[in-house]
């Protein structure tokens, strides 16, 4: 209720046409015709995709190791992963400006690494649940004894077996990166959400139409990913 009523209200608002007091798609058409629309949506899209790649490349092997090694640092890492929830975003922005070398600060590629940190609490927990739900030790040992090195074990066994957790992680990280605003503004970068704010100053209905599209497009893309890659192991063929 708390999700759908505001969304439906926003949608209803975005299709209003004040000129004739009716409804229409003119704000959506206006948004698509805006020359920066495609530029910013593509930019935010690939930044979010890069964040997803960084998240999976860093987290899956690290968490696999943490689960297998029964390391005493695991509770500590669990705690660290929660820090982005309690540290203000402005602190990350200032921290990045102080610690990142200048050549990193000069490129928009600094954003995916910071988005990764912001998405960490959610991505970490989603993968943690996935890894806890499988006999990880036996499966990795079976793969290794059959001739798979660590990377192939992760790529051909672990990731496919925890696929639903991986898809969840991809969805959360992608959505969070695509919609991230505060950090981006503080670091003086322009992405799709900051552009929407800018557009809203001259056409509020158009900005809402754009926001609706930015909600619906990722939702459709992620739904398509889930449908295209169904869970083979629970299908049952014969």
């Amino acid at each position: 209720m708390f999700v759908f009523i505001p969304m439906l209200s926003a949608f209803e608002f975005s299709i209003r046409t004040p000129a004739n007091d009716g409804y229409g798609w003119e704000h959506y058409l206006w948004a698509i015709r805006e020359e920066d629309f495609l530029h910013y949506i593509i930019r935010s899209g690939w930044l979010a995709a890069l964040t997803v790649v960084i998240t999976l490349v860093v987290l899956v092997p690290t968490m696999t190791w943490l689960h297998l090694s029964k390391s005493t640092i695991r509770p500590f890492v669990d705690g660290i992963s929660l820090l982005p929830l309690v540290i203000p975003v402005v602190a990350f922005a200032v921290g990045a400006q102080i610690t990142f070398p200048e050549f990193v600060q000069n490129t928009v590629l600094e954003l995916p690494f910071l988005y990764f940190v912001l998405a960490l609490p959610y991505a970490y927990r989603t993968l943690d649940i996935g890894l806890n739900s499988i006999p990880l030790k036996t499966l990795t040992e079976a793969a290794r004894s059959a001739g798979a090195n660590w990377w192939r074990t992760i790529a051909t066994v672990i990731i496919p077996v925890i696929k639903s957790a991986v898809i969840g992680t991809v969805a959360i990280t992608f959505a969070l990166s695509l919609g991230e605003y505060t950090l981006t503004v503080l670091l003086h970068w322009d992405t799709f959400p900051t552009w929407v704010t800018y557009v809203a100053q001259e056409n509020i209905l158009g900005a809402i139409a754009i926001s609706m599209m930015s909600l619906i497009i990722p939702f459709l893309v992620l739904t398509a990913v889930t449908l295209v890659a169904p869970d083979r192991s629970t299908q049952g063929r014969k």
């Binding site: 499988i134 006999p135 036996t138 499966l139 040992e141 079976a142 793969a143 290794r144 004894s145 059959a146 001739g147 798979a148 090195n149 192939r152 051909t156 066994v157 496919p160 077996v161 696929k163 083979r232 192991s233 629970t234 299908q235 049952g236 063929r237 014969k238």
Partner: protein, 346 residues
Amino acid sequence: MSSKSLTLRNISKRFGNVNALDNFNLEVGVGELVALLGPSGCGKTTALRVVAGLEHQDSGSVLVGDLDISQTPAHKRNMGMVFQAYSLFPNLTVEENVAFGLQMRKVNKSLRLKRAHELLDLVGLDSQSKRFTHELSGGQQQRVALARAIAFEPEILLLDEPLSALDAQVRINLREEIRRLQLSLGTTTLFVTHDQEEAMAISDRVGVMNNGVLEQIDTPDALYNKPASTFVASFVGTMNRIPAHITDGVVEIFGSKLVALKRGNESGKVYALIRPESIFVATTTTQGNAKVLTRSFMGASSNIICQTADGTIIQSLMTSASTGDLHPGSSVQLRVLSSEALVAND
């Protein structure tokens, strides 16, 4: 099949304060099936995992043939392994599971699927090749795991209690199948189990382990009939511990004089270790030396539990035909059929 011998030399492995393997030595000949048997925590699984490369020994070396593989990572050891827990990959079909090792060795798809079907045919599951593993029973899953372990023609086959999660009848069938396959392929095999019947039934030799040390390794016959230590004698099969008196290496039990095989005290009080089948229970009309407590009919043989006057419980295994007169409460005369006995001081 390029099977090779396996040698473990002076392997030691500690987990914190626990000595899992203490200067452990083992040799498995080409094409031989050796079982490691022992109570929980004796180090048998650790030994197997050291061979597989899943644990690293603190000292000592592992040799396959003449090649020292102590530092070789697990995925390069070319050993097939079947685990206690079902370890099939749930995202793959049965045939893809069997072909997994070949896929890792970059064998082309048609060849590896052909090989997978050969192996599945060998374990009687070719008709299930397109199924996913959760659609199979426990016994079928372990058959697939066995096929997967031998599909890439490993130099050594390692079996880590592969039957312990299965029902009794499935266990018996599958252990026979493992032995049949192992003999036909000639694969050098190390088999870890805590079930002595399983170990004795299919192994060329059985190693009995205790506290990280190999107490004795021998053929099942020799292990049963000539145990090298009191631990082996008590652990393998059933053994009666009968209080007796020893004088100059001779113990007297129920009126019979037996040569002590392993001398403890030269004279004084000891325990004689006698197998149930070496105890004969005879009915008597006079005052015997024991009373029957129970008689359990087991088909061809019967298990008789008696109690002597001093309270010692004695178990006897006799043919059922000769135990018809034995009823609970009967006064009986016990006799020892063997001429020698292992003795223990405590």
